[in-house]
């Protein structure tokens, strides 16, 4: 194979989410090694595009990868804010990009405002928070309804990283909370690098906040939040969406994470478990299903698309890949499922109605709610998947 | 011989100021260096004190070669230097400055003895012992600098222009205190603009011009020397 196809992998390889970047890198390398970096008579050259968790730097790096390294397609991405800015770059250079995790509404709205232009920003790897984050509140409401937990008053607070993701997830919690009769004490968004939350948490405690819901994509920040939540003596329920987005979170929270809620897909199939073992053996860390796992599925789905494009056109470049994306992926013709070797979700499937999101639901793409104890998560929601009942501290 | 300077060449960077300067001072002597501005008097002192390392030549003190030693090492050998710029510790009090002068002395009671001695010489300093050195007037600072130089009980004192900026009365008292030191067996090398005064108080003198020793001899003789009279006293 003497033809080369440069592919950009966008991720936070340095900066506060570097751990997730590591997981991306492992997934991509493993998936590529499995096909020996070849599709048809093309050798795939992986170009790492470091977003550094900053939209401006990411856009610059992406443009440079296009101009300098000539990438013909791109895959993955961690942050919404980055997605919002890189979408334009992809559109400007007409480079198809698949499976970015930038989830928030801002991405969808932007996409829907000009589907033609943003057809280069292919199906996302993560749906808008409203589709999944509301599950927490639904779960909590059930718990209150069946009497497992009786909060003194229905006072909640929302926290999150100050990014499109944090705010958008915060918005989803707020809506769901207000709808079920909670009062919101305050909403706090902090820089993605913050690790000192004592003042903030003490404030919540003294206000008598019973339910604290929020998220962060930066592991150091969220693990610190969880740990300090326990330390200052908060007694309520903590939703820490994303704690499990790095596999080794327990090394950083310790028992502080007991009783915390999170929503993380599980490694259920033997392939999935094997994959996790392989990663541990080769890279020395426990991968997170939501980060390493999803990105592994993402890159493998992308390879499937490449194969398809090669099959149809005999040629791989930005146009052929884009065509397949538009014609077959976004229409739901080409999907990636357990049958293809997906390890995390049952099926990754896009339809014109849901674009740029995928089809969400227990049979397709879904996150159960877990409660942690001693470093292990147990599914407490939905009912069918339940492993344990919700427990109060 | 207490101090012997031989063929000293020194300067700043590439700029040579001193050319083959040689001096000898015996124990207990009171020696003066006179010369016009920029002759290199201060440079000579700085070189002896170890603040400038010489290009060539040697400095022997108490039979020990101290050429090229650092300033602090020289100070530990018993040479104290009262510089023209005074180099006080501006954010320390008068008393702290004086204690620092006795840095090489470890015993507390010896330090206090020296302190009393200095306060006796300069009652003004005693009055102001808690004032920060940086807030003192020019003349007060000069006193403090001299006082600090005396604190280490040196065997040789290099004193650069002690009367610079001092009121007549104080000038008199500074010279008087130098006399006291001489009587206490301290050796003094004095640089002073006031040629008449210098030659009147010292026993021996050197005339430095353009970085070279021009004349040397008994102070009394020098004062009578016609060249000195013509050049320095304008007679």
């Amino acid at each position: 194979a003497d033809k080369v196809l440069p592919v950009g992998v966008l991720g936070p390889f340095t900066g506060p989410s570097a751990q997730n970047g590591k997981e991306f890198q492992a997934s991509v390398e493993m998936a590529m090694e499995a096909i020996d970096y070849t599709v048809g008579d093309y050798t795939i050259e992986v170009v790492w595009v470091d977003s550094q968790s900053d939209p401006a730097r990411a856009a610059s790096a992406y443009a440079e990868a296009v101009e300098g390294k000539g990438i013909q397609a791109g895959v993955l991405n961690w942050h919404s804010s980055v997605a919002v800015s890189v979408m334009d770059v992809a559109a400007q250079y007409k480079v198809p990009h698949m499976f970015g995790f930038g989830a928030s509404e801002v991405v969808n709205e932007k996409w829907q405002a000009d589907p033609e232009k943003y057809s280069y920003w292919g199906g996302k790897g993560w749906p808008v928070p409203a589709k999944l984050e509301g599950n927490y509140i639904e779960c909590i409401n059930e718990v209150i309804a069946n009497g497992t937990w009786t909060p003194k008053k229905k006072l909640a607070a929302i926290y999150g990283e100050d990014t499109d993701w944090g705010r958008s997830a915060g918005g989803a919690y707020k809506e769901a909370l207000l709808a079920s009769g909670w009062e919101i004490y305050s909403e706090e968004y902090f820089p993605i690098t913050q690790t000192d939350f004592y003042p903030l948490l003490s404030k919540f405690k003294s206000a008598g906040v019973e339910l604290l819901a929020g998220t962060s994509t930066a592991a150091p920040s969220l693990t610190a939040f969880v740990k300090q939540y326990a330390e200052v003596g908060n007694k309520g329920v903590l939703i820490a969406s994303g704690l499990g987005w790095i596999g080794d979170w327990y090394k950083m929270t310790g028992p502080g994470s007991d009783y915390v809620l999170d929503s993380i897909p599980q490694l259920t199939t033997p392939e999935a478990k094997q994959w996790a073992k392989d990663v541990k053996a080769k890279y020395g860390f426990n991968p997170s299903p939501s980060s390493g796992g999803l990105s592994y599925d993402g890159i493998r789905m992308f390879i499937k698309i490449l194969n398809r494009a090669y099959e149809v056109y005999g040629k791989l470049d930005k146009e052929t890949i884009h065509n397949i994306m538009v014609d077959e992926v976004n229409t739901g013709k080409l999907t990636y499922s357990k049958a293809d070797g997906a390890i995390i979700m049952n099926e990754y499937k896009y339809t014109p109605e849901t674009m740029p999101d995928m089809v969400v639901g227990p049979e397709a793409y879904f996150f159960p709610i877990l409660q942690y104890k001693a470093g292990k998560g147990h599914i407490i929601f939905p009912e069918d998947w339940k492993q344990k009942d919700f427990e109060m501290k | 011989m207490l101090l012997e300077v031989k063929n000293l060449n020194a300067g700043y960077g590439y700029l040579q100021i001193l050319r083959d300067v040689s001096l000898q001072i015996d124990k207990g002597e009171y020696v003066g260096i006179v010369g016009p501005n920029g002759a290199g008097k201060s440079t000579t002192m700085k070189t002896i004190a170890g603040l400038i390392s010489p290009m060539s030549g040697s400095v022997v003190f108490n039979g020990e070669d101290i050429t090229g030693l650092s300033g602090s090492a020289v100070a530990k050998k018993g040479i104290s230097f009262v510089s023209e710029e005074m180099n006080l510790f501006v954010n320390m009090t008068v008393q702290e400055n004086l204690y620092m002068g006795a840095y090489t002395i470890k015993e507390k009671h010896l330090k206090n003895e020296r302190l009393d001695f200095v306060f006796e010489l300069f009652p003004r300093l005693a009055e102001r012992r808690k004032q920060l050195a940086g807030t003192m007037s020019g003349g007060e600072r000069k006193m403090l600098a001299i006082g600090r130089g005396m604190m280490s009980n040196p065997s040789l004192m290099l004193v650069d222009e002690p009367s610079f900026g001092l009121a007549p009365q104080l000038t008199t008292s500074v010279f008087a205190s130098l006399d006291v030191l001489i009587k206490n067996g301290v050796t003094i090398l004095l640089v002073e603009q006031n040629v008449t005064k210098t030659l009147a108080v010292t026993g021996r003198g050197y005339v430095l011009e353009n970085g070279k020793v021009g004349l040397e001899g008994n102070s009394a003789d020098l004062a009578e020397n016609s060249y000195v009279k013509k050049v320095f006293l304008g007679v």
Binding site: - | G138, F164, Q169, L170, G234
Partner: protein
Amino acid sequence: MIVLETQNLTKKFGGLTAVNAVSMTINQGDIVGLIGPNGAGKTTFINAISGLNPPTSGMVKMFGKETTGLTPEKMCRLGLSRTFQIPSPFPKMTAIESVMTATIFGNPAGKITDPVAHSREMLEFVEFPMKETVVAEQLNTVQLKRLDLARALASNPRLLFMDELASGLSEGELKDIMRIIDKISKKGISILMIEHIMQLIMAVCNRLLCIQFGTKIAEGPTQEVANDPKVTKAYLGE
């Protein structure tokens, strides 16, 4: 004509009264010597007048106008120049550039047509012993004081303060400085000079002001003050 007048000028530093209610006058053409023991407050006194360290209370009147607390740059443009006890050069500038600052900025706009020539003239006037292109940081104290003087004169002052200009001069050099002071005075500039060298004071000053502990103890014609027993006791010694 009265060039400068102070009334009860006082300057305090925290608890210390460095200048205590000093009133004095300088007449046109005077060369006033300001003497006093070290730490008497002489430098502080002229700093208070020239604006570098504004007075705590009291009044300053220059050329008939009240100027209490004006900034040094305003005072300079009004015609007051000064030199510093501890030379205060522009370390990286050449001699001629240093003088040009005052030529250009110290004069009311437009007066000097050729600043370079004027500055050169000033350096010659003070008999500056070095080349005009020498950089200030390479000068020694005495040369710096000359440069300082040239800078002070470059703004064409009507009143000049000199703070210990002659310290560190040999007897021979004192003669030069006397001649220069004489030339300055001939230009019609009134002078207030702080000095410890009595030889110089007695030779050039027509009036003396003596302060001690910040308080004026004598003011008047030179001989009279010099013979004043209070002054003898406080300052000159026996």
